[in-house]
């Protein structure tokens, strides 16, 4: 008697689950089709939607990106680095821990820059740069190569001033 009732309840539940699954499936198909149609017929809809939601933050992002990307006289103003191909990789990988001034005040050959990267990886927790390493080395070796300066350079940048006796 009790076994019979249990079986009946389980059967009813099964039918209910089946019904719900079918309904859910239909809703899903309808939804996906709707999104597809929306995108297909009105490709700007999605953008408009985003704009309504995040108009302010999009504006903010654009403006702060402009500040972050400011280039003047070939120099990337926020870091002082020379503007060239792969600047973005250098900024993102090399200035997370230390100031860009550590780059701009140094000069080295490609091998020298690579050995600095290895030293930072071995002792200063720099991550594996992967395929970006070659691009970063291209940038550094080109823009921060050594000058030939001999055993003693002439005095430069002298600011002349009258010295009263």
């Amino acid at each position: 008697m009790s076994d019979f009732s249990g079986e009946k309840i389980i059967n009813s539940l099964r039918r209910l689950v089946n019904l719900l699954s079918t309904l859910l499936g239909l809703v899903l198909i309808l939804g996906v089709s709707l999104i597809y149609l929306e995108l297909y017929y009105d490709p700007q809809h999605f953008e408009v939607f985003a704009k309504n939601q995040d108009e302010e933050s999009v504006t903010d992002l654009a403006e702060s990106t402009a500040e972050i990307d400011l280039i003047k006289d070939g120099i990337h103003i926020p870091t002082g680095l020379i503007d060239d191909v792969n600047l973005d990789l250098v900024v993102s990988n090399c200035t997370a821990c230390h100031s860009a001034k550590l780059i701009t005040q140094n000069r080295s050959s490609r091998e020298g820059w690579q050995s600095m990267i290895r030293w930072m990886q071995e002792s200063q927790k720099l991550w594996d740069l992967g395929e970006n390493e070659e691009a970063i080395l291209d940038y550094l070796a080109k823009n921060y190569a050594p000058d030939q300066k001999g055993r003693r350079v002439p005095l430069t940048n002298i600011e002349w001033y009258e010295l009263e006796p």
């Binding site: 230390h98 050959s109 002792s123 927790k125 050594p146 030939q148 005095l155 600011e159 001033y161 010295l163």
Partner: protein, 409 residues
């Protein structure tokens, strides 16, 4: 919308400045010096953050590395706002002076002990010495091929007056085992990677240097708290040795039965080739030797380079000279690129390991461009070279003569 946001940023920026400047006196010691108030924009004046004279040159701002032009080192005792900064990591924040402790331990310590600052001050006799500290890499910018690191010119040196207790007295109270040979320090600065477990720098000196009369555990500089950027509230001071041995934000000292092997003691750091090498040579770690006493050196601190004087006008020049563990025994100048050298007046040091003052009055034979070169000689007879001395991979120990430009019209 854009305008209002700009206005907001402007206001926030002003607020940030106000906070920085307003907090300068009240919270100066707690100011998170390496973190310029995120979200409020960069304060316009980094010199307010580091509390240094505007005339200093910022080589690096993360970590802070700042040097002093020679004409700003003219004071006989280097003032706090003109002492260079050579930091390897980030300055500790939220320093609570009452909770600060110094622990002396290590395999060659008999009875490891921990002292509060107050205990340190009340348990041992106080000493004050004027001690020269100079970064091992001072002058690095002139090496060719270039050496990596902060490109110091001449300004990573200073000679303030330090007050503290003798390291020897503190070590004696702990007890030094017979096998002790070296001493290492640990400080409270944070590694650039942000990893709180990673030690920024832990160097030291041989026991013999540690036991010198002038080797101090110092809490005061020029009679005031040591500046935060220079090691507040406690640091080691070993005059005449690479300043990296004089650990800042000092919290622990280890007495070692071997040469200390903390970060920047090993590999190529603060080491030079044991045997001279040709410029650009790769040198294996095992062929690099630890720098100890710094070489003889001098600066012309007056006048500032670029002086234009009238014909027949005499010129007074002056400066300082120092020589690691040695004393400076002679000081000379040349106005003809070393053809002839003339003697300067040289004062004795106020105490061992303090820089010495020198001066001269000179005249020029006629109109034209001149360079005044200065050259010191130490008690072992070593003279400063006019050209850049022996090349080494990391660009240490450049003690070449300092020179200034003078025009006679």
């Amino acid at each position: 919308m854009k305008d209002s946001r700009r206005d907001f940023l402007k206001r926030a920026g002003t607020l940030g400045m106000g906070l920085t400047m307003g907090a300068e006196i009240v919270f100066a010691e707690n100011l998170p010096a390496d973190f310029p108030l995120l979200g409020l924009g960069q304060p316009d004046d980094p010199f307010k953050i580091i509390q240094k004279d505007q005339g200093l040159s910022i080589l690096n701002d993360r970590p802070w590395n700042v040097e002093t032009p020679p004409h700003l080192l003219d004071d006989k005792i280097t003032p706090a706002d003109k002492l260079f900064i050579r930091n390897n990591g980030l300055v500790p924040q939220d320093i609570k002076i009452d909770d600060w402790t110094l622990t002396i331990e290590g395999e060659s310590a008999v009875t490891p002990k921990t002292f509060t600052l107050q205990q340190l001050k009340s348990s041992f006799k106080h000493y004050t010495y004027q001690l020269t500290i100079e970064c091992g890499g001072n002058g690095r910018s002139e090496f060719n091929p270039p050496a990596k690191g902060n490109q110091w010119t001449t300004g990573a040196v200073g000679c303030p007056s330090w007050t503290g207790v003798r390291l020897r007295d503190v070590l004696d109270s702990v007890g030094i085992k017979n096998d002790a040979v070296y001493l290492g320090y640990y400080g409270k600065d944070t590694h650039l990677s942000g990893d709180p477990e990673k030690v920024v720098i832990s160097r030291g000196v041989p026991l013999k240097k540690a036991l010198d009369d002038q080797s101090l555990i110092a809490w005061a500089m020029n009679g005031e708290d040591i500046p935060l950027m220079n090691g507040y509230p406690l640091r080691l001071v070993f005059g005449g040795w690479p300043a990296s041995t004089s650990g800042k934000w000092l919290s622990r000292i280890v007495i070692r039965n071997q040469v200390h092997d903390g970060p920047k003691m090993t590999g190529q750091s603060y080491r030079v080739p044991c045997e001279p090498v040709a410029p650009g040579t790769k040198v294996a770690d095992e062929d690099m030797c630890i720098i100890e006493s710094m070489p003889v050196k001098s600066l012309i601190t007056y006048p500032k380079s670029g002086a234009v004087i009238k014909q027949r006008q005499s010129l007074d020049i002056r400066g300082h000279a120092w020589a690691g563990d040695q004393a400076v025994t002679a000081m000379q100048y040349s106005i003809d690129f070393g053809n002839t050298w003339h003697t300067c007046t040289l004062d004795p040091p106020v105490n061992p390991l303090a820089w010495q003052h020198w001066s001269a009055r000179l005249s020029f034979p006629g109109k034209g461009y001149y360079e005044v070169w200065a050259r010191a000689t130490d008690s072992n007879g070593n003279k400063q070279p006019m050209i850049i001395p022996g090349w080494n991979p990391r660009g240490y120990l450049n003690n070449a003569c300092h020179r200034i430009a003078v025009k006679v019209t």
